[in-house]
């Protein structure tokens, strides 16, 4: 029973850790599938976390936070599109610019607005509840004491923030959009063969702008989740590499929604283990916590090396699309 409980606690943390990764990985999927390398997920998470928390504090409502957070990351995603699509800028450089700009702007503006060293005020104090609170699913309280089922339903499945459920719902939704709609087909086509798409009379630029719009919306949820739900406060650099980890999960998941989600869950599990223990014991050998932390990146490198399966990127990823000039 002790073991069961600790497994439940770890899996519970896994779901919480995986949520921002899932949003960000799905976000990255739209942009990368359309041919735009997205190392800017990190910056977009940060910007939406900041504006989300600020708006939630200002309006006293988490929903306004969600709106503002998503809007802000959409603006940055469109800036990304402006640089990479309209001006054929280098995708990696644009991504870096956004990451660095986001890290600086959120801290500097945050300090100017709130004078708390770049933090926003806490979103949950006194009567104000400007944060998202966990949702208790129906009958969770009644079932809590039932063995096994109580643990699984009341602890593991119930009692998460709304955004956690949304993240898992977004996976099939994004799959549908990407693989069953006309828009999704176009996104995938411009990432594989933009010339053919152009010949068919579809605007490559417009498709990529729209793909990055999807990126902005989804990654906004990741940022808002961190600041408005989990910590109920923004602090500088709170994204702490989650954007890069989501990118790793996306690659590890071979640019597909379900497998990317599985990678996010795996990385979330590793994070849960790393946080819970100072080093885990695996097959009788003590594994240092730093190794557990590095495992997602090591796994991704190993996968990219083609040693376990093969992860093939969209064909024209990273190349600006330039029409033939006469």
């Amino acid at each position: 029973m002790e073991l069961f409980n600790s497994i439940i606690v770890i899996l519970d943390a896994t779901l919480r850790n995986a949520t921002p990764l899932i949003f960000a990985a799905l976000a990255g999927m739209f942009s990368e599938r359309s041919g735009i390398v997205n190392i800017a997920l990190e910056g977009k998470i940060l910007i939406s976390a900041f504006f989300g928390a600020s708006a939630a504090y200002y309006f006293g409502s988490p929903w306004m936070g969600l709106l503002a957070g998503v809007l802000s990351s959409v603006v940055f995603a469109q800036l990304h599109a402006f640089a990479t699509v309209t001006h054929n800028g280098d995708h990696v450089v644009s991504g870096l610019a956004i990451n660095i700009l986001a890290a600086g702007l959120t801290a500097a503006v945050g300090n100017y607005w709130f004078s708390q060293g770049g933090n926003t005020p806490n979103l949950a104090f006194g009567d104000t509840q400007a944060r998202f609170t966990p949702i208790t699913l129906p009958f969770a309280d009644q079932l809590a004491d039932v063995p096994i089922i109580g643990g699984i339903y009341s602890e593991l499945i119930s009692g998460h923030y709304l955004l956690v459920y949304l993240a898992f719902a977004a996976v099939p939704l994004c799959w549908y959009i990407l693989f069953r709609t006309r828009f999704g087909l176009r996104v995938r086509a411009v990432g594989e063969n933009p010339h053919a798409v152009d010949t068919a009379g579809i605007s490559v630029a417009k498709t990529r702008y729209l793909a990055l719009l999807m990126t902005g919306i989804l990654v906004g949820f990741a940022g808002v989740y961190l600041s408005v739900a989990v910590t109920a406060q923004f602090s500088p650099n709170m994204s702490a590499g989650k954007g890069y980890m989501a990118l790793a999960a996306l690659i590890f998941g071979k640019w597909r929604p379900r497998t990317a989600m599985q990678a996010c869950l795996l990385f979330g599990l590793l994070e849960a283990i790393a946080i819970r223990s100072q080093g885990a014991v695996f097959l009788g050998v003590e594994v240092p916590v730093q190794l557990v932390e590095a495992t997602p990146y090591i796994l991704t490198v190993v996968l990219l090396g083609g040693f376990i399966g093969r992860s093939v990127a969209p064909k024209v990823i990273g190349e600006p699309y330039v029409k033939e000039r006469s």
Binding site: D90, V93, L101, A103, G104, V301
Partner: protein, 377 residues
């Protein structure tokens, strides 16, 4: 082709300056929003970075680090690769420098130790770049992603080594023991004091001469040696290079080894020259900033030295703003971000308008010339 008619002073002079100007205007707007007069801010940045021996020392100290990390980006870029791994390579380079200083410091004279620590910085940095390079060369995995991953792996590895091996027993903070004094690279104020000249104490140390020498050496390497020629061939046209008999895999690995070694040198300045111990996060984003510096310096060693000076000014001058306007120190990061955005990501934005402007002007000038000297036409 209209491009051939654009003179070089437009491409390497006017357009980069226009980009910086836009970045400066954008930065000015940010300052205005933060209730700071941009002109005053610029003045205090200039006086903070150049106005005193102390400030100048810091500016040049930062410049030294940026030269190394930017060269690491530029060499890879000349081969058509994006090395985002400077952060990790410099961190691992610091391990090499640190191990040499911890092991040999005080046991051998400095003049013997220094070459060993230089080699250690290069070898450790290069080895950290080797795996991503080999994966790109032989397995086709993209170097941008693998070097990003290697930055995180380096951070975890260094954390592990510091906690379990390098941290002296009984200390709380996660950092190595302080090196023996005999292994420190002399700081500039000490050197001047030796000659009886007093200058303000700052972390600026003799590594700056190594940085300038290395920048020159990189220029020689890229433009005056066979290896450099091969690197540039692969970078400008991979298929032509392959057809010309150049082994792409070999050049890829050679390039990344050089890049990693250059990034590793950064540890000489920061670890052996200033901190005198291995600390957590000692690279402190300078590897990333190196990308911006390389961009601004147009991936040319000479340009990189100038751009490093500018970023040294931004870093030191920006931290001065913090004291004077009680603005967040990370305002510097905003400035860096804007520079990368406008002279990197949006570098083509001003290119076409300026070129069009010049072409119109040139056409009118030629037309006038024809009118005045019809016989010559």
């Amino acid at each position: 082709m209209s491009q051939q008619r654009i003179p070089a002073w437009i491409t390497v002079g006017v357009i980069p300056l226009a980009n910086i100007l836009i970045a400066a205007i954008a930065a000015g707007l940010v300052f205005l929003y933060l209730n700071i007069n941009p002109i005053d801010a610029l003045q205090s940045m200039v006086s903070g970075a150049f106005g005193s021996g102390y400030g100048l020392g810091y500016t040049l100290y930062y410049m030294t680090s940026y030269i190394f990390t930017a060269l690491a980006v530029a060499v890879a870029f000349k081969c058509g690769m994006f090395n985002i791994g400077g952060e990790g390579q410099a961190y691992i380079g610091a391990l090499g420098v640190g191990l040499v200083c911890l092991g040999l410091g005080g046991h051998v004279p400095f003049i013997v130790l220094l070459p060993i620590s230089i080699i250690a910085a290069a070898v450790f940095g290069a080895l950290w770049a080797l795996i991503p390079a080999a994966l790109q060369a032989y397995r086709g995995s993209h170097i941008v992603i693998t070097t990003i991953m290697f930055n995180f792996i380096a951070a975890s590895l260094m954390n592990y080594l510091l906690v379990y091996f390098l941290k002296p027993v009984g200390t709380m903070s996660v950092e190595s023991a302080v090196f023996d004094r005999a292994s420190w690279i002399p700081q500039m104020h000490e050197v001047f004091a030796f000659f009886g000249i007093r200058i303000a104490a700052s972390p600026l140390n003799l590594s700056i001469f190594w940085a300038l020498f290395v920048a020159f050496a990189v220029w020689v390497f890229l433009w005056r040696t066979r290896w450099g020629y091969e690197i540039r061939s692969v970078g400008s046209n991979t298929s032509a290079a392959r057809y010309g008999g150049i082994s792409i895999s070999r050049v890829t690995i050679l390039t990344m080894l050089v890049a990693g070694a250059l990034a590793g040198f950064m540890a000489l300045n920061v670890v052996q020259g200033q901190a005198h111990q291995i600390k957590l996060n000692l690279v402190n984003q300078m590897g990333f900033t190196g990308i911006a510096v390389a961009l601004m310096g147009r991936n040319h060693p000479f340009g990189i030295v100038l751009a490093s000076l500018m970023f040294g000014f931004l870093t030191q001058g920006g931290s001065e703003l913090q004291f004077e306007y009680s603005v967040d120190a990370r305002i510097v990061v905003v400035l860096q971000g804007l520079v990368i955005l406008f002279s990197g990501a949006l570098q083509h934005m001003m290119k076409h308008p300026i070129e069009r402007l010049y072409l119109n002007y040139a056409r009118r000038r030629d037309a006038n010339a024809d009118d005045q000297h019809p016989a010559e036409a």
